[in-house]
Symmetry: C2
Subunit: 261 residues, 2 copies
């Protein structure tokens, strides 16, 4: 199959922008412009590229780019939208999981969302091939172009509307932000008792492994699902004096008990 | 260094017992007896072994074993303790994370705990070399024997008293049982909106990776730590009608906000 290559402009030189530039060029799409408010950031990103021009101006009226990907922080999208000038025929998409498609509504272009479902750090490699990318577009044609672009990076491309993407974002808060916080709580408990956090790590890895390979329902263990009220009481007594942790323990224990009635 | 080999008896042919038999034999310790209430389970475990004898009787007065490892379910430990007859010189240890050393107090032997910090499934391989094993003993000598045994299986051996082990257990409930439940909640949200749970998996894996490789404090992301109250309100509105999830969302969001003040 002949793969179409698209000329791309990346707006934003942060974590997402950095990874997108590399992945898109690697997939054969010339990145022709990289924008950052701070020109130095944009320049650093274009260093290894044949085509890319760094810029700190949002007037792209003369740009050759066919697809503009806005990869700035959520709060900065609206400002970019107010100031950016795009060539008429270009498609513009933002890359945010939290913002609806409608934040782009005042742009006269074809609009969409190109949302890679991952947490990016600048210096940590990401395997794009397995990376879910969620696409939304204001028309079939826009969806098709963005999906084609996504498929050239990843085998895991989903068409997801704004309402679904909001659900995905809420779900990610539960599965990622909150889980991370529970791991922090566990670390604190272990360290307070003069043990090494390393003791817990293989158990955490295996738990998550099981949840993802089989299913979290099948792999639920612990005193709550066993209805082992004597252990639960022991644990709550252990947490005495820390109301916050007691509350978290109780709320999640009750939720598990209600789930597996 | 010359490694001492110990003759072992395993009491219990469940998940932990199964993995212990294999790991101990592999490390050069002959497993001479395997007990299960159901003789067939014990027999299945001794099938591949040169030395091991299967039994469903708890009279070990004539056993050659030097170390008895009780690997039955937490609730069954006390019953085993009441019924078991041990050779005088043998060390006896239980393998439970939740039970104190004192559950063995009525046995006239040297007593200890040999607790592998992992969640075992019968048919999933476990890498014992990296597996934390927590040791406790009623004397220096007991600790030394059990620690030596543990070190022949794993490079990650810790001396941990009953109070610390209780803390470890509480910590594991937060980091593992509760995280697993949050992943289940996330899955439900995603599936309800007709999306595939697979969309979330790479994000979950990367989140846990970061938490364990750097630290959960450094990798906390999301609306709570950003104090992004507008996103938090949007999420709570999305969860409208599900009081349980709203409560979990609120309690964990407040806890994150208080942690990163």
């Amino acid at each position: 199959m002949h793969k179409r290559s698209y000329k791309i402009a990346i707006i934003g030189a942060g974590n997402v922008g950095t990874h997108l530039v590399k992945a898109l060029e690697y997939a054969g799409h010339p990145v022709v412009e990289v924008y950052s408010r701070d020109l130095r950031n944009a320049k650093q990103l274009t260093l290894g590229s044949y085509n890319a021009k760094a810029t700190n101006e949002l007037d792209f009226s003369k740009s050759q780019a066919e697809v503009f990907l806005i990869a700035v922080k959520d709060d900065a999208i609206e400002e970019v939208v107010r100031e950016i000038v795009l060539p008429e025929r270009a498609i513009v998409a933002h890359t945010s999981g939290a913002k609806p498609l409608s934040v782009l509504q005042y742009l006269p272009n074809d609009r969409g969302v190109f949302y890679p479902v991952q947490t990016f750090s600048k210096h940590k490699k990401i395997n794009f091939e397995q990376l879910p990318i969620c696409i939304e577009g204001d028309s079939e044609a826009t969806v098709q172009v963005l999906a084609e672009l996504a498929k050239s990076l990843s085998s895991s491309v989903y068409i997801v509307n704004s309402e679904q993407r909001k659900a995905l974002h809420v779900a990610a808060v539960f599965a990622c932000n909150f889980s991370n916080h529970l791991i922090k709580i566990a670390k604190d408990i272990v360290v307070t008792e003069e043990m090494n956090f390393d003791i817990l790590k293989p158990l955490i890895i295996e738990t998550i492994d099981k949840a993802l390979i089989t299913s979290p329902e099948q792999s639920q263990t612990g005193p709550a699902v066993r209805r082992d009220t004597s252990t639960i009481s022991t644990h709550l007594a252990f947490l005495k004096g820390n109301e916050e942790l007691q509350t978290i323990y109780q709320v999640l224990t009750e939720s598990i008990m209600e789930t597996y009635e």
